[in-house]
Symmetry: C2
Subunit: 172 residues, 2 copies
């Protein structure tokens, strides 16, 4: 059965943390739906090289409609975490047990969703203290897998992040 | 006696959260020193309209050399909080009792410096959960004054932020 992956994204996302996982997911036959704050909005990457059209507003979708969630990093998570619907969507996803792929600044959304207590996770070095203060166990590894939560630190970790994510999709 | 204010700053700072307080401080007769990660580096604002030359590398200065500290917001604090010297400088400043002016995302640096436990503070809405998780009391006000710590939420709060900061400088 075909699986659909939601990507939650807004302006200032880190280019390759979107493009590389998405290319790999598409090649593996998965369908991608871009979820954001406003349907039809064109969001731009931090380096302004990558533009993405939002397919669905987060307020109009639910975690139940998708099989997995990708949260790219950069400053996109900082923009999304001020939106209640975005935070609820991410919270529902983590609690559903479906795979959630988090890289770089993505844990900021998980912190606001208050789903990290006791979870093992990694992320970008600037937010280590925030991750620890949220009650999570921070691990300085290229990829951390804790139940449905797969996480990596930065673009350098992308090969390991994509490999672990694809494996999770095949077995979940 | 003339007072000197350090501004700790890096790329992607929020334009007006630098320009407006600095203009007011200069008009009031204070001397400004731009402290950053590398002496001579030109840092750019988020909107790429404002360029600032770093006067001193943070590793080469100490809190004792200045009378107050301004931390502008935007994504500059996210960049500074990965640097150990920057975090130590901010920590020393808060603990010195000298005025620290924090706006928008600036509390991110205070969180990494682990100086917020039990302190009253405000900041940009995206980091409210991070502020609470750090053990601080978050207040949704245009300006919060708690001992040597003056804080505001966003550019809209600048008039109140500047007024409170100038008052603090005159009385400290």
């Amino acid at each position: 059965m075909e699986k659909t992956i939601a990507v939650i994204i807004d302006d200032f996302f880190e280019d390759v943390e979107y493009t590389e996982p998405i290319d790999a997911f598409k090649k593996a036959g998965y369908t991608i739906v871009h979820v954001g704050l406003k349907k039809g909005k064109i969001v731009e990457s931090k380096k302004q090289r990558t533009k993405v059209r939002i397919d669905e507003a987060v307020k109009d979708v639910s975690a139940g409609e998708f099989d997995a969630l990708l949260i790219p990093g950069g400053y996109s998570p900082d923009k999304l975490r001020v939106d209640e619907d975005a935070v609820q969507f991410v919270k529902d996803f983590v609690e559903s047990g479906k795979p959630v792929f988090s890289i770089c600044h993505a844990p900021q959304l998980l912190i606001t969703a208050q789903v990290l207590k006791g979870r093992k996770i990694t992320g970008w070095k600037s937010i280590v203290q925030d991750i620890k203060n949220a009650g999570a166990v921070f691990l300085d590894q290229e990829v951390v897998e804790d139940g449905n939560l797969i996480s990596s630190r930065s673009p350098q970790d992308l090969p390991a992040f994509i490999k672990a994510s694809l494996q999770k999709l095949q077995t979940s």
